[in-house]
């Protein structure tokens, strides 16, 4: 195939692109009816979504709700931090004690296991 053939092919395809809608195209009226049929067969969308943790909410509520949730999460983290400052020291003592007991037991168990 030489350059001349390629030019001919290009010209004919451009011509076909112009002619085909005139030759095979549909009128505006038939287009409208197709649109209406397509609408009746269209997927049904009710705008309700299952958002985080299974809550069923309208789609438009999703973004503002996520903002409120982010704020609540932050508040929770901060309150957890504050709570953990003083009482955790006391709790830590008892954990340490229990750890020391359970640690001793684990050590003993490890020694016994090492015999087998």
């Amino acid at each position: 195939m030489n350059r001349r053939h390629l030019l001919k092919l290009g010209a004919s395809s451009v011509l076909a692109a112009f002619i085909s809608p005139l030759a095979f195209g549909q009128s505006n009226a038939s287009s409208a009816s197709t649109t209406s049929a397509a609408q009746s067969n269209a997927s049904k969308m009710d705008g309700v979504v299952s958002y985080n943790a299974g809550w069923v909410i309208p789609l438009e509520d999703k973004a503002p709700l996520l903002e409120v949730e982010a704020r609540k999460n932050k508040e929770k983290q901060e309150s957890d931090k504050q709570k953990s400052v003083t009482p955790s020291a006391k709790a830590g003592d008892s954990v340490d004690k229990s750890k020391s007991l359970s640690g001793k037991f684990q050590e003993l168990l490890g020694k016994i296991k090492s015999y087998f």
């Binding site: 309700v48 943790a53 299974g54 809550w55 069923v56 909410i57």
Partner: protein
């Protein structure tokens, strides 16, 4: 009936151990002492009818009697589920179980979507709901819940919490009546029939494991009320002298077993009006639980089974940030206070012949072949729960009444059964598709009646106790009329 004729009939029963001189002398033999049987007896108490009551258990629960209700359970109802809902003791299961009851509706009974039809109308059933309500300790107005606006998308149709009256465990109710004789520890095993197959002429039973036989007169009516499973167990026991067990001429005994799939579907924040007492039915409520069902027209249109979703206040706990956010957001958006409740679904189970009981070779201590029970949920059972939950979520949201979760994993992985055994000796309008006629009489026999939830062609979404009592009273009334005619 001449005694010689009676002996002739009994002698045809094929068993050499039979004692021909022994027979039960009664106008009506009632088998079982459950709330079903006591409802029949209630209607006959003030007549001259001689009533013999045979109870398999003792006046109290015993290990021996408890062992009789064990079965090989296959499917979704496991861990002695069926046996745990079925007692061999005076008063039957109603001694231990009360019910979140709700009446059936017309939609349940008319054969929609391939379900079997009930042979009676909702109007007739409503009449017996009304008569039987006081037996359940309720005001007759609770029967007003039968009829509602079927065009509504959702109807607030609460459960009536019926406590089983203590009198059902007190044998004095029967023994104080002169015309009633109560025999405990009499476990009925099976029936024998005359040669023409028209009458029951004998009963095999056991007393503390010792098998015995008694003849039955042709004009003695027998009412089998051995429980939702026990009725079919008796009618499936093999006969000595015929291929088909006596009572299973239809071939339907033991089939279409139904219970009630149950599952928590989620939680939600609700406007207090959602859980307020319904006023549309003019009911004098005693104890009730808020619940919603889909209206009948929508159920038909959407091919749903009858499911209900009830609401109970959630346990007091610290809300997660996610829950706090949802509550705060919608309280602000709708400008109202919202309370946390949990949602719980109960649904009818489609009558499926694959869900059934069969008997096995091994016998229990009373001499009955033990049962193997198959009962699984179908796709429609579970999809009906899911669709109802999603529709309710959507409905409440659009009406600014609540925001809910619909928990997929809970619905499809954690649905469990609630054993309200129903449907395995169903009544109907034709012997081609039912075991009993509209008067609860086994089609083939003139003197054998079935009583209890095993009659139900469909099961609705609620505990069957109220329906059982209603049908029991209706049967008692029918027998009363029959006895009058023959007197």
């Amino acid at each position: 009936m001449a005694l010689s004729h009676f002996y002739f009939q009994v002698s045809r029963v094929d068993n050499k151990h039979m004692d021909q001189s022994k027979y039960f002398d009664a106008d009506v033999i009632v088998i079982g002492t459950s709330i079903a049987s006591q409802s029949v007896i209630h209607q006959l108490r003030n007549t001259n009818a001689k009533i013999l009551v045979l109870e398999g258990g003792d006046l109290q629960r015993t290990d021996f009697a408890d062992s009789l209700t064990f079965s090989d359970e296959r499917g979704h109802y496991v861990n002695h589920h069926w046996g745990g809902h079925w007692l061999r003791a005076y008063g039957g299961a109603s001694r231990v179980w009360n019910g979140f009851s709700a009446p059936l509706e017309k939609w349940d009974m008319v054969g929609i979507d391939g379900r079997p039809k009930w042979p009676i109308t909702i109007d007739e059933l409503e009449k017996w709901y009304r008569f039987s309500a006081p037996l359940m300790g309720e005001d007759p107005s609770v029967a007003n819940l039968v009829k509602y606006d079927t065009a509504k998308l959702f109807v607030d149709r609460p459960y009536i919490i019926m406590d089983s009256p203590l009198s059902y465990s007190d044998p004095k109710l029967l023994t104080n009546s002169k015309n009633i004789e109560l025999r405990i520890k009499h476990n009925v095993i099976k029936f024998t029939a005359d040669d023409s197959g028209s009458y029951i002429n004998g009963i095999w039973y056991s007393v503390e494991g010792k098998v015995q036989f008694s003849g039955v007169k042709k004009n003695t009516r027998i009412v089998l009320g051995a429980g939702g499973l026990g009725n079919a167990q008796v009618l499936l026991q093999p006969a000595d002298n015929r291929q088909v067990p006596v009572g299973n001429e239809s071939g339907l005994v033991g089939k279409t077993l139904m219970g009630h799939p149950h599952v928590p579907t989620g939680e939600g924040f609700f406007d207090p009006s959602v859980v307020s007492k319904p006023t549309w039915a003019q009911v004098k409520y005693r104890k009730w639980l808020p619940a919603y069902i889909v209206g009948a027209d929508y159920k038909t249109k959407l091919n749903l089974l009858n499911a209900s979703i009830s609401l109970t206040p959630a346990a007091i706990r610290e809300l997660s940030p996610n829950e706090q956010a949802v509550q705060e957001f919608y309280q602000k958006k709708w400008g109202k206070k919202l309370e946390l409740h949990t949602l719980y679904a109960r649904t009818e189970q489609l009558p499926n012949p694959d869900n059934r009981i069969e008997i096995i070779t091994e016998k229990n201590s009373a001499g009955l072949h033990k049962m193997k029970i198959y009962c699984v949920f179908g796709a429609r059972d579970m999809m009906s729960i899911d669709t109802t939950a999603r529709m309710l979520a959507d409905h409440l949201l659009k009406n600014k009444l609540g925001v809910t979760t619909v928990d997929n994993d809970s619905i499809f992985l954690n649905t469990w059964g609630w054993a309200h055994p129903s449907g395995i000796t169903r009544f109907g309008s034709s012997p081609k598709d039912s075991v009993c006629d509209s008067n609860c009489r086994v089609w083939s026999y003139q003197n054998l009646y079935i009583n209890g939830s095993s009659l139900f062609p469909t099961v609705g979404y609620a505990n069957p106790t109220w329906g059982i009592v209603s049908l029991g009273m209706r049967l008692g009334d029918h027998l009363k009329q029959e006895l009058k005619k023959s007197a």
